[in-house]
């Protein structure tokens, strides 16, 4: 756990630094595909939400669910997605956020409400008089309902790749009038992730891993999933890939027999916190038969930050760092 | 052997019996008659321990209320007017249920129980049906199977609610003769209801005519089965002749304009 915590704080510090430094030249691939693009290069400090945004609005965002036009810089934002909440605060739009859903828990001090992002209530959302709603799914007729009220809804669904995650951050920056700092955030993330990949190496096809989504029954994530694609950057072999079926959406249920006989060298637990299963490395080591697995024998059972592992926001470098630390340790054995 | 004093029963806040008294000695046959809704079944249900009642019911010297469930069930067998017949149950298993009062809480029917059940089936002329399901029997056959279950309990008191309503005249006679023989040979006390007044008069020692929860008349067949009482209680026009054994024969008379 120690190396992880220090790695995490290092990443966070790096993020904060880059955000503050705000050196205008951002990577071109993170350029949003927006109509009135071309924001002023080298804009003001990212932390300043008072950036004159008039020039950037109205803006049309090519969101995954279709174009969304935002007439003026939104002063009251409601976020119904924990990832979007992280994105909003990371790009410097935090002061505009008036309400976040009950699952949003980062960064600390977000204006948490009882709003439910999975089964949203249109009237309850409207009660916050939002000028922009950000969510990860259009449930309960949210988009249609808010449209009647003239409120744009930006739907940023679960990212399938890391580039989609970057694009979402940039879009959220653009939609809130913080494009430049969003680009800086993305650039910082890229730099961090690249550094971790360079350090841990990307050719670990000899290392196999089991990504535990939940226990009893054991659900895993294949390389096709977002989390799996992150681990795949290290070249790791995912034991769930051989078990994947078209119908399981990348999340097959594995028999414990198979997990044992696949002999994974690393086990990533994304269900180890008290709120989502409590499957700590100690619990795993006590499972019948599991001590025979190399990962358990060699203490390569990694308690991930479950929230970070399940989201696709600005803390992605932390996820990469956690994996990198495990890879370095396992490769050394 | 069975003595009923001032029996009152209230069902659903309606008083159904208003102080009914009647009795019969060991080996006697008491028959309750009366129009529909008079309270005949209610008297039998009270005597079977199925209803809360006022007044007293005595079995010999013992008060019915003081007997615990199994002891009471060993003494009194009850055949309801409309028995519940599980359609899938085998005749043999059904009759064996009659042995329940003789079994300890955790014991199962043994050899003797089976022999008694088989004998009861024989007596009622249904032993050829033992392997059948109840639903595969005719109405009359079912009624005889139910009687066999009651006899399998080897009771000292038999409560029969309309035991022959579905039987043809031959089986009616056969069943009633059988019960009559049992009470004479084994001292079985019988309390029954019967709608056929002539038959009631032929088999019972004592008739009790109920009307609206009260005893309208009681006594021998000759005393109770009079055209006047029957007209008053049933609203029926009948003529009563004297049969060859001296017992009354009740025949309805058609209203010819």
């Amino acid at each position: 756990m120690k190396p992880l915590t220090s790695a995490a704080s290092a990443v966070l510090a790096a993020c904060a630094l880059t955000a503050l430094a705000a050196c205008g030249s951002s990577g071109s691939s993170s350029q949003p595909s927006a109509q009135p693009a071309s924001p002023a290069p080298g804009g003001g400090p990212a932390t300043s939400s008072a950036t004159p945004a008039v020039a950037q609005f109205p803006v049309t965002i090519s969101a995954p669910g279709g174009p969304v036009t935002i007439k003026a810089q939104p002063a009251r934002i409601v976020s119904l997605s924990p990832t979007a909440t992280e994105d909003l605060f990371a790009v410097g739009a935090g002061k505009q956020v008036v309400a976040v859903d009950l699952s949003s828990n980062y960064p600390s001090g977000v204006p948490k409400t009882s709003l439910n992002g999975v089964t949203p209530n249109v009237e309850a959302v409207a009660g916050y008089h939002p000028s922009l709603v950000v969510t990860d799914q259009d449930a309960n007729g949210l988009v249609a309902g808010m449209k009647k009220l003239g409120v744009p809804v930006l739907v940023e669904p679960a990212a399938a790749s890391i580039d989609e995650a970057y694009a979402q951050i940039t879009q959220i920056g653009q939609a809130t009038g913080h494009l430049a700092s969003a680009q800086d955030v993305v650039a910082g993330m890229r730099a961090n992730i690249a550094a971790d990949l360079a350090k841990a190496g990307t050719a670990h096809s000899d290392l196999s891993y089991f990504w535990e989504v939940s226990a009893n029954p054991y659900y895993s994530a294949t390389s096709k999933t977002f989390a799996g694609s992150i681990a795949a950057m290290f070249g790791l072999k995912n034991i769930a890939d051989a078990a994947a079926k078209a119908a399981d959406g990348g999340y097959p249920q594995l028999t414990p027999e198979y997990i044992l006989s696949a002999k994974p060298q690393i086990i990533f637990l994304t269900d180890n916190q008290a709120t989502d299963g409590g499957q700590t490395p100690a619990v795993v080591a006590a499972r019948p038969g599991w001590p025979a697995i190399p990962a358990v024998k060699n203490h390569e059972v990694i308690a991930m930050n479950d929230d970070v592992a399940a989201r696709w926001g600005p803390r992605l470098p932390l996820l990469v760092a956690e994996i990198a630390a495990a890879v370095e340790s396992a490769a050394g054995k | 052997m069975i003595t009923v004093r001032d029996l009152t029963v209230t069902l659903d806040q309606t008083r159904v019996l208003h102080g009914v008294s009647c009795q019969t000695p060991p080996g006697g046959w008491l028959c309750l008659i009366g129009p529909n809704g008079a309270g005949k079944s209610t008297v039998l249900r009270a005597a079977a321990g199925l209803l809360a009642y006022g007044g007293t019911i005595r079995l010999g010297e013992a008060d019915l209320g003081s007997l615990r469930g199994r002891a009471r069930a060993r003494a009194i067998a009850y055949v309801p007017q409309a028995p519940v017949l599980p359609p899938d149950m085998l005749v043999a298993d059904y009759v064996l249920l009659g042995r329940t009062p003789h079994l300890g809480y955790l014991s199962r029917p043994g050899r003797r129980d089976r022999l008694v059940a088989e004998a009861a089936l024989d007596k009622l002329d249904v032993s050829q049906f033992t392997g059948r399901r109840l639903e595969q029997m005719s109405g009359g056959e079912r009624q005889r199977v139910v009687l066999a279950r009651a006899l399998a309990a080897e009771p000292s008191v038999l409560l029969l609610d309309e035991p022959t309503s579905m039987l043809d005249i031959g089986h009616q006679q056969q069943v009633l003769e059988l019960v009559d023989g049992l009470r004479r040979s084994a001292g079985l006390t019988v309390v029954s209801t019967l709608h056929d007044l002539t038959i009631a008069g032929q088999y019972a020692d004592e008739l009790v005519l109920l009307n609206a929860g009260r005893v309208a008349a009681a006594g021998s067949a000759v005393a109770v089965l009079t055209p006047g009482l029957i007209a008053e209680v049933y609203g029926a026009r009948v003529e009563v002749r004297k049969g060859h054994d001296g017992r009354p024969v009740v025949a309805p008379v058609r209203n010819v304009q």
Partner: protein
């Protein structure tokens, strides 16, 4: 049903016992780990004292066989037996062949208990979920029984089992709704709760077997000893009382022990449907309606059925696994319809 031949009860029960052994044997030789059958047989023989056979299995394969596969088979047999005998018991109590082991708020209570544990008590570790499911299941039945008793005292349906059954349905719906409310508070755990609801034996361990054995033993013994009383109940409360049986006491004892059995099963396996309906139904088709035979036959049939169903669950998609509740429904539903094909209308 043909006339019963003497000894057919013993023959049926013997056949059912053979079915359990056969199911276990099939199950022990197949699995995602593809263990060598000869090595498995030798390893098993090695457990027989004084035989002195040495297993050819590696440490890991041996762990797969003795710590994963075997406890899972034993736990599956135990859970299947409990679910089926509970279903049969409830069917006798309620004189209704469509009643299931999850009735009377048992499943709904377990679901609510597990959800509360997952959402609010996660800090106490994963071991709290089975305890909460067990407690919830028993509490569900207790609440339903209380509601049924109040309904019987005041209501128009009388004190018979129908009032209790209806109260159980109402309480079950209420508890399920309460569970949904709790879930709404914490949508991150949806996946965890739903995979629990689908039922699974994938966490099976010898420890679980040992933990539920006392509850299973006591409840099954009590249920089996009341087969004759359930037969008497089938002629209705009035006639049962006239036969010297106290129907309320019998129902209370049977419901209590069935609730205990179902709670023990649900605690280690989650919600597995269909076993409690289909197995007793097949037992009745084979043996007739007497609970003296239906109960032991259901016990054994349920054990064999669930072992087979779980074998399919862990092999059909191997190395992936199907939720066992899906398997019992997938093979249970068509089998049930096939059985109904020959069932007379009066059964229900």
């Amino acid at each position: 049903m043909k006339p019963r031949r003497p000894g057919s009860r013993a023959a049926l029960i013997g056949a059912a016992a053979a079915f359990v052994v056969a199911a276990a044997l099939v199950s022990v030789f197949v699995g995602a780990a593809n263990l060598n059958p000869v090595a498995v047989a030798t390893a098993l023989a090695g457990k027989i004292p004084f035989l002195g056979v040495h297993s050819g299995l590696s440490a890991l394969d041996s762990a797969v066989l003795f710590q994963i596969r075997l406890p899972r088979i034993v736990l599956g047999a135990l859970v299947g037996a409990l679910l089926a005998v509970t279903g049969a018991g409830y069917q006798g109590v309620f004189r209704n062949p469509l009643v299931d082991s999850g009735m009377l708020g048992a499943s709904a209570g377990a679901g609510l208990g597990a959800t509360i544990a997952i959402v609010y008590l996660g800090g106490l570790g994963p071991a709290v979920v089975p305890v909460a499911a067990f407690t919830g299941s028993l509490a569900g039945v207790a609440i339903a029984s209380l509601a049924g008793a109040i309904g019987a005292a005041r209501g128009s349906l009388g004190s018979g089992p129908a009032t209790l059954l209806l109260a159980g349905i109402a309480v079950g719906m209420f508890l399920t709704a309460a569970q949904t409310v709790v879930l709404q508070r914490s949508t991150q755990v949806l996946q965890q709760v739903y995979s629990w609801l689908l039922g699974s034996l994938s966490g099976a361990s010898w420890q679980q077997v040992i933990e539920i054995l006392p509850y299973a033993g006591v409840s099954v013994a009590v249920i089996l000893l009341h087969g004759r009383h359930l037969d008497v109940l089938s002629v209705g409360d009035d006639e049962a009382r006239a036969l010297g049986i106290n129907p309320r006491a019998v129902r209370a004892i049977a419901i209590g022990s069935c609730a205990l059995a179902a709670a023990a099963a649900v605690a280690v396996s989650g919600l597995i449907g269909f076993v409690g309906i289909i197995v007793p139904h097949v037992a009745r088709r084979l043996a007739g309606p007497s609970y003296l035979t239906v109960l032991p036959l259901s016990l054994l049939g349920g054990a064999g059925f669930l072992v087979l169903a779980d074998t399919l669950a862990r092999t059909v998609l191997a190395p992936a696994e199907l939720p066992i509740g899906v398997v019992t429904a997938l093979i249970g539903a068509p089998a049930f319809i096939w059985v109904l094909r020959g069932t007379r209308a009066v059964d229900t």
